[in-house]
Symmetry: C2
Subunit: 207 residues, 2 copies
Amino acid sequence: MRIIVIGASGRVGQDVVKDLQANGDHVIATSRHPQNLGDEQIALDLHEEAGELAKQLPDADAIVFTAGSGGRDLMGTDLDGAIKTMQAAKQKGISRYVMLSAAYATDRSQWQTPAIQSIRDYYIAKHYADLYLINESGLNYTIVQPGTLTETPATGKATFADKQFTDNAIPDVADVITQATHANNTIGKVILMHGGDTPIKDAIAAL
Amino acid sequence: MRIIVIGASGRVGQDVVKDLQANGDHVIATSRHPQNLGDEQIALDLHEEAGELAKQLPDADAIVFTAGSGGRDLMGTDLDGAIKTMQAAKQKGISRYVMLSAAYATDRSQWQTPAIQSIRDYYIAKHYADLYLINESGLNYTIVQPGTLTETPATGKATFADKQFTDNAIPDVADVITQATHANNTIGKVILMHGGDTPIKDAIAAL
């Protein structure tokens, strides 16, 4: 598949690019300041309007959104930037869209958790971006919602279920995103990801 | 009418409370730290979830939203706080909702204006709050979108049209909000407000 990874230079994005390439995909890596990633690079500024983003994006079979501002530009990047890439995808006829979100971004009943309270504005941004993707984008979406991202080695395992908020190793999150992008049974689903004992391939097949 | 003014202690809110009372309305004034405003006061923290806000709000005929964080809490107040009051209104069966927004918040083609570029994050927050009100809230809304607010005396006049971005005296904005709240012909409309020569009463009647 030809896959655009938006936010390719980010912590998760870099791993997703490598995993997709290892899978045989052709990866178009976008970031604000392009680095030597993927098979093609595009400089993309998410502050552009959706119509301009649509002009700058190439044709592709899917978009994977892994961009994040690290809390420095939640309105412009994590919320508005994300939604505009959905609108650009729709305009270009790229119907498959995979979003890196955060555990319980769509379930406010869990927001009293200290791990969420401490980054509440980030959750608000992800919340409305996810809701737009689900309710208004018209795209064939998958939303991956991991717990706290850790820079630890891959375990190759996960649990997709509603359980206590946990950490997830970044390479495991990238693995889930990569496999979900190719698994049509994940379309229209929110994958709530926790640490666990199920091989990721089996967990995705069971969705 | 029984009217809840959310953000009653703000610059526009205070004038709206006075105008509504002068009009004979019963005003329930809400703010985070209640002041001696309106006929009743309620302490309302917009960081509460929508269900909790619905419990705290009294019955009323309309809600007027004039709260704003002054750029200090755009995610929690201007965006998420606003949307949760819409959800609370819907839960309580308060179907009439009047929103103080900002000129062109729903028209991104105008966002290159320097006055908007300088407060872009504020515009993103107002944009998605307005879109929720229009597309998802299920409320009988009116959205008032003035230009730059100035602490100058009332002119009693305005223009409701698409023209160059201008200033609006705060008492004129409060006047438009107050009259619009009582004018059923404003339901379902976005009032783009500029300075002008038409008496506000006539401008509203012509909508």
